[in-house]
Subunit: 174 residues, 2 copies
């Protein structure tokens, strides 16, 4: 396997840090810039087997409002399930039964973020919007699964994880 | 819309930079850490309407070999189509006819990278591996589309863009 020869932290911030790793790959010396980000969770909430809940929020990196599945990073010592329940509470005001669907890297070329994706069923309303993160400005949108799938393939949804999650769910028999 | 009050570059590297943007959202002052990364392309190469070509490479951010669609960032003044043709040449040794499929953000919560996704058909072999990036160590894998779809939903593929691309393609009639 790969042995890291050196690792130099070049930026350290609130949500991300950046390091320069030096390692050998097939006897070739490589220096690689890596963004370090906590692992995260994404949730596909399913209501009555026919509907789902998405959220709309302003995304400053894209400079637009985006329609996405509920998601967020794993905080402190949370397990992925605990983080998913917290995000559901905060973003859509529901709790439910979580079933793991998949896990994936969002940008494995340079970013460590690994996302655990769950399907949430048996949804129960608890309250709307608990402790939202500082920059979250979230509106919940309910729609049919058919409509959600259409939005993934017609270009209306421009968030990669949402497209992967909805289409993987619709191709999987849970 | 959102007016950025200030923007401070806090890290500037070869492939990414990081800035701290200050802006007002609903009269709330927000400071947001943003990773700036070039836009990029991803390609789903289709052979005989039944097969596709993936690449396997070591991804240091994930510390493992990963199976992905051919992809890479847009360089200099390239158009997305030019970048996609170059990446196909470099990574799989083919040229072909490109049809836009979708475009999406990989991690819109904090990263500017926008990926243009194409389907490549009428493939013609040109040569294997042109000028690979420094850290690319790529092996081409040919498989049936059915097998590719299965790998996306059974967990074998852990790359979000690959799952989104393959499943969006299989749900779309081009």
């Amino acid at each position: 396997m790969i042995r890291t020869l050196s690792s130099q932290k070049v930026y350290s911030g609130d949500d991300i840090s950046v390091k320069l790793d030096k390692f050998k790959l097939n006897s070739k010396l490589i220096i690689k810039e890596i963004v370090e980000h906590s692992p995260s969770v994404g949730i596909i909430p399913i209501i009555d087997n026919t509907h789902t809940l998405f959220v709309t929020q302003y995304r400053h990196a894209a400079r637009k409002l985006m329609l996405e599945i509920p998601a967020g990073k794993i905080e402190g010592k949370e397990t992925p399930v605990q983080a998913a329940l917290r995000e559901m509470h905060e973003e859509i005001g529901y709790t439910g039964k979580l079933t793991p669907l998949l896990q994936w890297y969002l940008a494995p070329g340079y970013d460590t973020e690994l996302m655990y994706v769950f399907v949430a069923t048996h949804l129960k309303k608890i309250n709307k919007n608990g402790n939202l993160d500082n920059d979250e400005n979230i509106r919940v949108r309910r729609m049919t699964l058919t409509s959600a799938i259409n939005k993934c393939i017609n270009g209306e949804i421009q968030d990669c994880k949402t497209i992967a999650a909805v289409l993987a769910y619709s191709n999987t028999k849970l």
